[in-house]
């Protein structure tokens, strides 16, 4: 008899794990609160480091789902243990009893309006990294109006204890450099600045992207945080920052400011974790058994985690974790 598996979160991790477990012959229920699968990937235009379009990546993830039962627009109302199995009930009225549960609840983007000094939602020409992707995907955003001076601020809601976010969000450096190049390509006459604390270009091909940004695109990298932004009468933005390499204060006038919003624990994931009494770390992300061999397991037998639910991850990391989780769940269900 085929065993049931519930996967909560229909982003890349959830889809990849569903595809693998479906291929192994399990009955997989993939729960997603939105109208469509894809998570943040569905709202992204191109992926670093090569700038590969996100669409085909998403399409292949969806295409591999096989017989997976996808439950869209479903909020989790309750999740609890029944002996060795789990019982979940959803806002759509469906309830399922399963032998294993995988949480792929991902992350939320930091609400950029919380860093009020950057003026997101207050000034006309301040956008986030997600807005830029949306702009490239759909082609229209009144805030991005042929800008000639563009600034990108790294670490908005990352490495910022005052904002309650101590962690590095891992992907924003590469995303910022990628978007800086894309904006320069779109508006060739523009001057583009990146304001960074440290550049963490750790992955394969990332350093090449960084060098290309400097040599080919002429992006100006300034090491220092932006302290405040004000809007002038002509709606241009005046930012104050410090160039910490030359120890000089700076004042720059810009037409567009892009905030690299970081990764925060997803609200849905925290809610579901509370239901099943899964601990969260000090940073708010879900706790896995350990950071090495037990990365996909949790303190609760039969409950597994994958992807950015346990902390900021790149897309390749997420997909790898989803596969690891699928193989671990298979092993667990074979034993029981």
């Amino acid at each position: 008899m085929a065993k049931n598996i519930i996967i909560i979160g229909g982003g890349p991790a959830g889809m990849e794990a569903s595809a693998r477990l479906d291929a192994l012959g399990y009955t997989v229920f993939l729960v997603e609160k939105e109208k469509a699968l894809g998570g943040h990937l569905a709202r992204w235009d191109r992926l670093f480091p090569e700038g590969k379009p996100a669409g085909p990546v998403l399409d292949s993830l969806v295409g591999n789902l096989g017989n997976t039962k996808v439950l869209l627009e479903s909020d989790v109302l309750s999740l609890n243990r029944l002996g060795d199995s789990f019982r979940i009930s959803l806002s759509s009225g469906v309830s399922v009893i399963a032998d294993a549960v995988l949480l792929t609840t991902g992350f939320d983007l930091f609400e950029a309006s919380k860093k009020e000094e950057y003026g997101y939602g207050i000034y006309d020409h301040v956008v986030t990294n997600a807005d830029v992707e949306e702009f490239f995907r759909t082609g229209g955003d009144p805030r991005i109006d042929n800008p000639q001076r563009i600034g990108l601020v790294h670490c908005v809601g990352s490495r910022d204890e005052k904002a309650g976010c101590r962690n590095c969000s891992k992907v924003c450096c590469a995303t910022a450099v990628k978007q800086a190049c894309e904006l320069k390509a779109k508006f060739p006459a523009a001057t583009v600045y990146c304001f960074y604390m440290d550049l963490r270009m750790f992955g394969r091909g990332y350093e090449d992207l960084y060098l290309k940004a400097q040599k080919e695109y002429g992006i100006r990298f300034i090491r220092g945080r932006v302290s405040e932004v004000s809007e002038r009468i002509d709606k241009t933005l005046q930012i104050k920052a410090e160039d910490t390499l030359s120890s000089t204060p700076l004042r720059v006038t810009l037409d567009l400011l892009v905030l690299m919003a970081g990764m925060r624990p997803s609200r849905e994931g925290t809610k579901v974790a509370k239901m099943i009494h899964l601990a969260t770390g000090d940073d708010g992300f879900l706790s896995s058994l350990d950071g090495f061999g037990g990365m996909q397991a949790t303190s609760i037998p039969g409950l597994f985690v994958a992807g950015a639910a346990t902390g900021p991850k790149t897309l390749p990391d997420t997909i790898a974790e989803a596969r690891a989780a699928a193989s671990l769940i298979h092993e667990y269900l074979q034993k029981s």
Binding site: E116, E117, I122, G164, P249, R251
Partner: protein
Amino acid sequence: MTPFYILQTDVPEVIDRIPGAYDHFILPYCAGIIFCLCWLGVGLVRVIANLSSSDRKALLLSFVNPVLIWKNLKDIFCDCLLHTKIWKRKPLLGFMHSAIAFGWFLLIVLGHLEVWLFAPRHLYLDNGSLFYPIFYRYFIWMNPGHTTLRGSLFFFLMDLCLLYVLAGIGLAIFKRFRSRLLGMKHTTKPSLMDRVALYSLWGIFPFRLLAESFTADLAGGSFLTLPANALLRFLFGDNLHFMPWWWAYSIVLGLFFVSLPFSRYMHILTEPLLILLRNAGIKVRHPRKGYAEAEIYACSSCGLCLDACPMNVQKKNLRFSSVYFIRFLRRHNEKKVNRIADKCLQCGKCLALCPVGVDSPAIRRRQRAAYNDRLAFDYSALKAPVPGGVSGAPVAGGGTPAPAGGKVMYFAGCMSHLTPRIIKAVLEVFRKAGEDFVFADENGGLCCGRPLLLAGKDRAAKTVIEANRKMIMESGCTTLVLSCPICLKVFKEEYKLQGIEVLHYTEYMDRLVAEGRLTLRKGEGSFVYHDPCELGRGCGIYDAPRRLVEGVGQLCKAEKEGDESVCCGGSLGSLTLSYDDRKRITAGALDNLLVNHPDRIVTACPLCLKTFSDASSDVPVVDIAELVAESTARV
């Protein structure tokens, strides 16, 4: 029958019972009081010697200024004897303090008056003036049948005062075990000497009652001592057991005076000195010497600041409260003192609630300055503009010259620049009121200096204050409007802007409404107003913001507000408090605001706005400027 009043004056009313007016039992008391007086004398000289010469001059001048003499007398009477400040907040606690202080004071005064009237020669030092008035009832014998109305009146008054004090002592004993019932959640842990002094203080008046009761049939008494005398006679058969009680009375008095200088009860004698120094306009200059020493010994260690301190939402932070800061200062415990000094949020609530008025936030700033003011700083940029960078000196209104006539300058300050919605709203209100104004730091300005002062970096603060002051004085404005209470406080206290009126924008907008230049539309919403520390306790502005809020909606009350308002937790004052601790304080402050379920939280400080906005998930937080901007039509 005893005649009610006797006209014959040749018969003495009072006869010396003890020849020579001396008995050994007075020795413990005399030793105690002499020790205590010597100690106090030395302490007084120390405090005065450690004042700067200008402060000493100010103190001397205050003694010949009739206004200050009157203020001194009034303050000493109200604060040291009646304890009106405690009465206002906690009546039962106030009664307890005034009963012990004022009651005891009356007993001493009336006792001396009695001696002056009936045995005046004993007011001279060689005739026992040190102890005779204290143990008067032991030394005299009332001439039976010759008691006058005057004498009876004193018997009655003395008994009445004794009862008054005993009631206070009774409450004090009760409070030691059940402090909550007198309105205190936390109370301090007494030290060893505190205990010695405390138990002797508890003993003094019951022993006095017993001693005077035993001799009441000889030396006279009234409604309290005479029945007690009859009861004792009934119990013991005769009334000749009085010696042990007079000894006991003298011993507890002696013990009390010996332990007094080393205990919290030193505040009884130091508080008048502190009042004199404060009224002379003297400020704290050193964290341990001079004025601070007077404050340290004037601290009664009552622990009212424990409940006041916003850090104490967590019990582990009780040790950072002002009372312990003062205690460790008194003991010269440098390590602990530094740690506690840096932790404080500088919200000033302990000062607002302190019955003695010990300005411990100011002492903490002095303590911080002892180290931080020596740190190097570099403001050379203020003199020479940085090429290609931010120009050094702030430019008024982005280069536009200040308009002639009713010249209003708006200075937003760093914190408002971090919360641009406030600036946007303030500018909108300016425009709607048709005000002709210059925006001083539109393109970035200098720090007002207050955060530096809070950190104890006095010299650095002075540098920026001078630069800002120069900019403002040269602008030719007559009114300066500020949107940040942190700036407001330092502009008012340190800038010395002659001829320029310094206003917070809530005062300014309140005035615009009163003058009819702004009309507020009253809506449906209900609001709770959070008093920012620097605006309320710091600058005493409580009413103008409330009038504005009432103009646009319904104002509901917070649990604690006005000068008891709770710090939002975001204060720049603390140098070391962790973000986790701050979060708890913010959560506590929000609970305090939301007791009456308002629709929105309103505040008037960019820092409070930012702190609450991040923490309040259900109830939106707005600034008064936003509220006024959205409910104003141009007149």
